[in-house]
């Protein structure tokens, strides 16, 4: 009798503990869930609010004439696009096509930024630019309305983002969900607007062309020829079996990918273009033994390797010793003008135990390597030095071609020197003396 009472009370206490633990867990989970949900709701409603502001702000830029006021107004447009962009990134839209909208926002941002930073007093808005702002004004109104529609649906139906996230995460085709359909529709609208408003500039078309490597010369390689190229490049004999595969149809440029195992069992990979068989990258993954070579030796080895493979217009620009490896950066040197081109770079990785080349990266060199015309800088070295900060102590100077903030290639006078304890690299435009770029080294 006594035993039964004890047993029963133990059971009862146990049951009580389990139930209250369960209840506690449930509340805990609900709190977390509603916390997450609130985060999503906040981001979503903020997007809508900021879209309103964006529309208004574009409107006020239109009404302004004077450069002085226009600069802050356009900067505000730029700030808002970037805020909206970041809020979109917080919503679970990863599986939903919403990238056209993000792309469009970014184009608005770039346009307003580039207009805002220029001296609008001396170079006011052109007719084209004004027209573009007008178009953006009406387009942002449409997008704002579409967003308002979605917002009212969310509020009317008490849509929870957590549920949407669950739906989207399954990845199934979702039909008849008004919110998701709304976003899809909006993305489509934005896509149309982006094409309509932002015609590709010459420079963007050129970038696109460069990216697709259409300027490379040579015939298309067969698989056998590609394998031969790989053997040559990586110094492999016939015993090593090389797997090769062709790129799929969606690539910017057709290429071959090769992989193989080295004699000591390390895996290696190389990609090369189909046209002409230019090496895009090479990578050998292995552990590095005791360092026997100096960084300097590695630099010599790297230079010899590049020369052997036909890259004879590059020069060692930078080197770093890291984890038993030397990371070498070579850049193009245009002769006889002695102009350095930072964008046309080749990276070579050397293992400091044996001096073997364990990495090569040539894609930047290939993509930027179109023929260019190199003129003479109008500014002399001493004139350019005048443009520098008076405390900046110049140590080295040379000519360089760089891409400035607008994405144009410009011939610059490059200065490396010190300001206090730190070393900086400063590029002064060789024609108009503008400070194109300042880098802390």
């Amino acid at each position: 009798m006594m035993k039964r009472t004890i047993l029963l009370s133990v059971l009862f206490v146990g049951l009580f503990a389990a139930v209250s633990w369960g209840a506690y867990q449930k509340t805990e989970k609900d709190t977390l869930k509603s916390h997450m949900e609130n985060e999503y709701q906040r981001s979503f409603h903020e997007i809508s609010y900021q879209m309103d502001l964006l529309h208004d702000q574009i409107g006020s830029s239109l009404a302004m004439n004077a450069g002085r006021n226009l600069t802050p107004a356009l900067t505000e447009v730029w700030r808002l696009t970037s805020l909206i962009h970041s809020d979109i990134g917080r919503l679970p839209l990863g599986m939903l096509p919403f990238n056209e909208m993000e792309g469009f926002l970014n184009q608005i941002g770039n346009f307003s930024y580039q207009t805002a930073v220029r001296d609008l007093e001396s170079k006011p808005l052109s007719k084209d630019e004004y027209a573009k702002l007008e178009t953006l004004y009406s387009q942002s109104a449409d997008l704002q309305n579409e967003l308002r529609d979605i917002q009212s649906k969310v509020l009317a139906d008490n849509v929870e983002w957590m549920d949407l996230e669950g739906l989207l995460a399954t990845g199934d085709e979702i039909k008849n969900n008004s919110v998701i359909d709304g976003f899809k529709k909006m993305d489509n609208t934005a896509k149309g607007y982006a094409v309509e408003t932002f015609v590709k500039t010459d420079q963007e078309t050129a970038d696109q062309r460069r990216k697709q490597l259409t300027h490379l010369k040579g015939d298309d390689l067969t698989e056998e020829q590609a394998v031969k190229k790989v053997r040559e490049f990586a110094g492999l004999d016939e015993k090593v079996k090389i797997n090769i595969s062709k790129s799929l149809d969606g690539s910017d440029y057709p290429f071959y990918s090769a992989d193989w195992q080295t004699a000591d069992g390390h895996s290696a990979n190389m990609d090369l273009t189909q046209k002409g068989g230019y090496p895009l990258f090479y990578l050998l993954n292995r552990d590095i033994g005791n360092e026997k070579l100096s960084l300097y030796d590695a630099g010599e080895k790297g230079a010899a390797f590049l020369k052997k493979h036909g890259f004879d217009d590059v020069i060692l620009e930078n080197s770093r010793q890291n984890d038993g490896m030397a990371m070498l950066t070579f850049i193009r040197l245009i002769e006889p003008q002695q102009v350095y081109v930072n964008s046309d770079s080749i990276h070579v990785k050397i293992a400091l135990d044996t001096g073997e080349v364990v990495g090569f990266l040539g894609v930047d060199y290939l993509q930027n390597g179109e023929e260019r015309e190199v003129g003479e800088p109008a500014l002399s070295e001493s004139e350019a030095i005048e443009m520098l900060h008076s405390n900046f102590k110049v140590e080295e100077s040379r000519l360089a071609i760089i891409r400035n903030e607008m994405g144009d290639e410009v011939l610059c006078r490059e200065f490396i020197g010190t300001l206090g304890e730190d070393t900086y690299r400063i590029f002064i435009n060789g024609q108009d003396g503008q400070e194109e770029k300042v880098e802390k080294l």
């Binding site: 599986m95 792309g103 085709e173 799929l248 070579l293």
Partner: protein
């Protein structure tokens, strides 16, 4: 007493200098250049500091500060001004300076703040550190523009997403993260891209918080240095498990291991 001690030290130092200045065990005999890391650089910095050319930290990392110090030294001593510590430069430097290897090395190991100026008693040049060891001898210098935490975070994502993949596939996954950071249509930071809701399954199911191995980290560093085996991809998926129909509509670039990479 301390004064005497200091004097004694100076005498020892000078004597030490006299005995060892012409010793050939100084430096390893290799040319030392900017970007190098290790014992030769520690000696180079110490010697340059000893004669007042180098005021920075003696840490074995041949950066710009060491470079300018070396060039100034070369200029003053009528050597070729190339910023390289080659044979002639090293010999000259050894003959005009001193290097107390024990003192320098032990202070680095103990993580002390210290300097090594000639003519100043050594015990006045040390500020005891917190006892924590200095950064490990071959502290990897990270590629410019990325902090150690960025790399850690990306290594976590790569490990969580692709630890079963071949090395090249891991580099490719890291490259996709970087391509997204660069792309207009994605957030602009590593954390923004990685934690974008529904972007990565490893983030959704918490596998991102597994401890990554060294290989994942190496893959991230290769990707940051520019290697992109995905050839500019912005998405990837496993064709056997992908449930989203939309992902199949993206232009496909190549397959590595289990993943198809696409634009």
């Amino acid at each position: 007493m301390t004064k005497k001690c200091g004097l004694f030290l100076i005498i020892v130092m000078l004597a030490h200098g006299l005995f060892f200045t012409d010793e050939s065990h100084a430096f390893s005999g290799q040319v030392v250049q900017r970007g190098a890391y290790g014992d030769d650089v520690i000696e180079l910095q110490s010697r340059l500091q000893y004669i007042g050319y180098y005021e920075g930290k003696i840490d074995g990392d041949f950066g710009w500060g060491t470079y300018w110090a070396l060039r100034n030294f070369q200029q003053d001593y009528g050597l070729d001004i190339d910023g390289l510590a080659g044979d002639t430069t090293r010999q000259k430097l050894v003959s005009v300076s001193d290097y107390d290897e024990n003192y320098v090395r032990s202070n680095i190991e103990k993580g002390n703040k210290f300097t090594y100026y000639g003519g100043v008693p050594l015990d006045q040049q040390v500020k005891k550190g917190d006892g924590k060891a200095a950064p490990p001898q071959n502290a990897p210098e990270y590629p410019p523009g990325y902090s150690e935490t960025d790399i850690q975070l990306m290594a976590n994502a790569v490990y969580g997403e692709a630890r079963g993949e071949p090395y090249i596939g891991q580099v490719a996954v890291a490259a996709v993260i970087l391509n997204r950071i660069e792309d207009d249509e994605f957030p602009n930071t590593a954390s923004g891209v990685i934690f974008e809701p529904l972007a990565f399954t490893a983030v959704a199911d918490g596998q991102i918080w597994l401890t990554p191995n060294e290989q994942a980290k190496r893959a991230v560093i290769d990707a940051i240095n520019g290697w992109d085996p995905s050839e500019n991809a912005l998405y990837y998926f496993n064709p056997d498990t992908a449930t989203s129909g939309w992902i199949w509509t993206r232009p496909q670039i190549k397959q590595i291991g289990e993943h198809i990479f696409c634009l």
